[in-house]
Symmetry: C2
């Protein structure tokens, strides 16, 4: 691309995550310019995108008519921040694909779509190739903290037998809705009811992260055991700006996923978010040659990390070969177990 | 590539690093098979590669006749572990390139060849493209520990103002030649003479790592200030299996590189290897949004890490687009500063 011309972007979906991305791009990025914005909410129709993001006007009007936007602007990249379920998400992207526009999205299930629906993934992979566009699901978790980071570190190992990833998040400085979501201040019984009814769902990316790691290293998962969300019970009182938790009440959530290959535990993902988690960190432990621990402190803030990934990866998505890709296609660097020829693309 | 057929490899250069790679591949890898081995040493001519590596015979004979090996075997990948200076290295690879064979090498200067010689790099990039092959310089340092690891972590940042990377290596468990190389047990005056005469050179990859980080993040370095190798003087006696160091003597080496952009320090690389370094670690600190520290413990062992990178990246090199690439082309994931359109390839 000629450096004289900006990357031209259309944004689709102006919910809380979408507005975070829009704000960041408008306020802090150069060489990446919005030429269109799409949202189905009637109250946003015709409004200026910059004003919707509570910045000054940017000259781009929001509309519900996605087809017209893509046909008229022919953008380089569409940034989708709409829905999480893959089956709802993929049909939304057809209008971009058929207009030759690459797609990047924070849709969690798009991070490893084959795991969710192999048939649908193959169909959209073919559609992307046919129109010469690349589609990628990205974010910090899944997509970075509990998968990519471990895969990349494993590239400097001559052997990896087991992977253990821990996210230990201190929820104290987070927003009130996040603290509420992890059950802070609830009684244990109420928490159990809330998880049973689906009112508390916990972090949704663990199985996707598990599959991303296994795919990168070449392990075939025979079984994935998932537990939680379970309550983390306060042993002594703890409080935040938003909640006061008595001893015996819930201060947060813990979840686990274990990946089994040929009867052996190969991958363990351990996710916990609670008030007063000290120290807070994100740790990857690789057991192999060498055996190392890589600890990030403090634990990475999810919201900003997802905004960062969705924006920083735009050039990589535009440059990549066509298809519905995963982060393992973009970053093909990891320990390669077993038959190495499996990792060579057909046609190479 | 059909999984039924192995990746076919030729090894060039059977010095200590080469033999480590050969041993690892023969003993521990599947789906990657040597079909040829080249070394200029007359005493190796005709010997079995497996026996040279002190394993059982593997049916591949070592020869000095590289041209014949490449013409007869037409391999997928050539693994070069020969020399460090780029100007000596690149001409050695012509025989592989002209026979349509991809090249991966532990040649340190190949990790960011543009910095060493832009003209020669352009010439070989064109030669690679003409013959449809990919060439990559890889290793753990440069190529991973003090560059790639920081670049990849920065992808989850919405802003990066400054990068600080520290390698604090405990030399106690390392081989005698390594301990000798860092000056363990020398008097300070003798150490100074040894660095002045070039008998002690220190770690050679700092400026290459500096350039790799700047390239990934899009910073143009105005100046790089390099200091050392300087002696780390023992305050109290310290010893290893190989050396006893009295207080006041040298227990190891420290080196630093600082990268300046528009008058500001943006990158600092801090390398130290000495007896009794406790704790030993590899740390990346990113100052931006968010501000994080990522510490690997214990510090990564260089020799095994380089073997791992040279082998684990072979499928990525075979799959990649033709050209003389760097690890930033293989892993295009990092914080992208300034004009984002600069990171989009011509023709995308």
């Amino acid at each position: 691309m000629n450096v004289d011309r900006d990357i031209r972007a259309v944004h689709v979906g102006l919910g809380p995550m979408g507005l975070r991305v829009v704000k960041h791009i408008l306020a802090e990025r150069q060489g990446l310019r919005y030429v269109g914005a799409v949202d189905v909410a009637p109250e946003l129709e015709g409004k200026d995108l910059g004003e919707v993001a509570r910045l000054g006007p940017c000259g781009v009007r929001v509309t519900g008519d996605a087809a017209r936007v893509f046909e008229e602007t022919r953008p380089d990249i569409a940034i989708y921040t709409t829905v999480s379920p893959l089956k709802q998400f993929l049909p939304q992207t057809e209008v971009a694909i058929r207009n030759g526009c690459n797609v990047i999205s924070t849709c969690e299930e798009l991070a490893f779509p084959r795991f969710i629906d192999a048939g649908l993934t193959a169909k959209y992979d073919e559609l992307c190739r046919k129109h010469g566009v690349t589609m990628l699901g990205t974010g910090i978790n899944p997509g970075f903290l509990m998968d990519l980071r471990a895969s990349v570190l494993s590239a400097a190992c001559t052997d990896v037998q087991r992977v253990l990833i821990t996210r230990r998040m201190d929820a104290t400085p987070r927003r009130q809705p996040f603290q509420k979501k992890i059950g802070a201040g609830m009684d244990v019984e109420a928490y159990r009811k809330a998880t049973a009814s689906g009112a508390i769902t916990g972090h949704v990316g663990l199985e996707i992260s598990m599959n991303l790691i296994a795919d990168a290293l070449g392990w075939t998962l025979d079984e994935v055991r998932v537990s939680g969300p379970d309550p983390v019970v306060a042993e002594s009182p703890v409080s935040s700006e938003h909640f006061s938790v008595a001893a015996g009440q819930v201060k947060g959530t813990i979840q686990q996923a274990v990946g089994i290959v040929a009867g052996e535990e190969k991958i363990r993902l351990d996710f916990a978010a609670y008030l007063g988690a000290e120290p807070s960190y994100d740790e990857v432990a690789l057991f192999g040659t060498p055996e190392i621990r890589a600890r990030v402190t403090p634990c990475w803030h999810g919201d900003y990390g997802t905004v960062a990934m969705a924006v920083n990866l735009i050039p990589a998505v535009i440059n990549a070969c066509p298809g519905l890709l995963t982060i393992n296609d973009i970053v093909p660097v990891s320990f390669k177990s077993g038959n190495m020829a499996r990792f060579v693309s057909q046609g190479s």
